[in-house]
Amino acid sequence: MLLGAVLVAAVASAALFAGAVAPFDPAALDINAILSRPDLRHPFGTDELGRDIFSRALHGARYALLIGVAVVVIEGAIGVALGAAAAYFGGWMDALLMRVVDVMLAVPTLVLALAIAGVLGGGLGNMILAIGVTGWREFARLVRGQVLVIRSAAYVEAARAVGAGDLRVLGRHVLPNALGTVIVFTTLEMPAALLWAASLSFLGLGAQPPTPEWGAMVAEGRGFIGQAWWVSTFPGLAIMVTVLGFNFLGDGLRDLLDPRTARGF
């Protein structure tokens, strides 16, 4: 978990200080240094346009975290709203949500996100939206479970007994108590969000070149893999390190939350 925190902090500081730390402008072309091997001047080498991959990878951290957080926020908002409504009101609403979850379980998230991003027209914003509206299933399930437990707590009964309306009970008494778990869960959802986003960008539907987004950078380097292994390898490594950081962090948090599964994974 400590290692996870360190990795995530490293990526976050790369994102924050990319402008100051990066030795080169991520968009600066250098025709004298096309596809040059990693050396002291360019630790990760340069790409087919002579851009410094190390600088681009640092700037990529911004995109990765921004995309990841945006996706998780959308997923969380949809998941919390649907999950809470289903559990709190029960009956047909709950039945409907569970059927929708069943359907979402049948359509591969990546495939649906790919199709929606395609229909919306690609690009960074549309990709985030596409992943957000397809990936909320786990959030909804989690919130539903939480609210089912909280709903029957004595303080909720008390609030209702003094005449509080449904919305007030949900907003003031139920949701704040479910919030802690939801926030921890966002850490667990980050790896998936990051991987989906990088995959869509790799497939050409997310961030477009010349954006220094890691998935798009891997895709750009694909054509030169025979001559210049470093162009694809380093951005991919950056994705892996970031996802690994969140996985370590989430794994540790999960153990703290639920000691029962601590020996599990």
Partner: protein, 312 residues
């Protein structure tokens, strides 16, 4: 058993209907399918004419009913770019995708079941904690990057294996060689996850009384582990396979793109990039139905592994 199967089949109906709703809505997401299908530069008269032809001026419910009846008959429309029937385009792609996903699943299980059992039997050794660490590494790996690394190492540097494409003849030297890298790319990362699950599932079962009974009967350790423990530990593993099925097809889309594999996934990516929406709809539908059918298969396997389900 018959009741169980019938019940399972019936529960699939709402899911299948839901899937068709999702697929149908795809085209209507932006509000104007015609503009989506034919672009923004088409004159207004032609747009109106096409709209009448395709029945888009009728209520959405009627459109859905019409689309659904045709889909049930196996008519998913025509490709905008080539004019070919969508079903005819998907059919030859089905085999390569199923081949890739099934072989990958096989690799996952062949690696993870023994590894998980060994981890459980030798729990809390260095080997065990190493496998926990490795598991997190593997699940953090982007599929497309792993594929490229494989290409780099085994294709470009060592020159051992072909870097793309699928040899027509499976039962040949070339055929086997062309399958190795894509199958490993799709099959190895989940193996780490399955190893961990097999381990915890085995640990739970090993503590049960019937395992002790088997031991005290004097059965060999091997027999106890394989026949008494593993068989019962398989149930959560089946559940995980069911949960990972959608992921398997999602991963196939990426793997097929990286290795220029002639499957449904690559057709999907091509269609999305060319904005060929009927093809996109057709593949999303086909993949969802494949997932639904395979989860039915898993449910039947449950009944096979666990007699309690059969006699309920």
């Amino acid at each position: 058993m018959t009741r169980y199967v019938a019940h399972r089949l019936l529960s699939l109906v709402p899911v299948a209907i839901g899937v068709t709703l999702v697929v149908f809505s795809l085209l209507h997401l932006t509000g104007d399918p015609i503009r989506l299908l034919f672009g923004l530069n088409v004159p207004e008269e032609i747009v109106q004419q096409r709209r009448d032809e395709l029945g888009l001026n009728r209520p959405v419910a009627v459109q859905y009913a019409r689309w659904l009846t045709r889909a049930v008959r196996g008519d998913l429309g025509e490709s905008i770019t080539t004019g070919d029937r969508v079903v005819a385009m998907i059919r030859p792609r089905l085999g390569p995708t199923l081949e890739l996903t099934l072989l990958a699943l096989l690799v996952t299980l062949v690696v993870s079941l023994p590894a998980g059992v060994i981890s459980a039997v030798r729990r809390n050794t260095v080997l065990d904690s190493l496998s926990r660490l490795t598991a997190l590494f593997w699940v953090s790996m982007p599929t497309f990057w792993l594929g490229l690394l494989f290409i780099l190492v085994f294709g470009v540097m060592l020159g051992w294996l072909p870097i793309s494409g699928r040899a027509e003849e499976f039962w040949s030297w070339e055929g086997v060689r062309s399958h190795i890298l894509p199958v490993l790319t799709l099959g190895l990362p989940p193996a780490a996850l399955f190893t961990r699950l097999t381990r915890s599932s085995m640990l739970e079962v090993i503590g049960e009384e019937y395992v002790r009974t088997a031991h005290s009967k004097g059965l060999a350790e091997r027999t106890v582990i394989v026949k008494h423990a593993l068989r019962n530990a398989l149930i959560p593993i089946l559940t995980l396979i069911g949960l990972r099925l959608p992921w398997l097809f999602g991963g196939a889309v990426i793997t097929e793109t990286v290795f220029a594999w002639p499957g449904m996934g690559r057709l999907l990516v091509d269609a999305v990039l060319k904005r060929d929406y009927p093809v996109v709809q057709g593949i999303v539908m086909a993949m969802a139905l494949l997932v639904v059918a395979s989860s039915l298969l898993i449910d039947l396997l449950y009944a096979y592994v666990d007699p309690r389900i059969r006699y309920q």
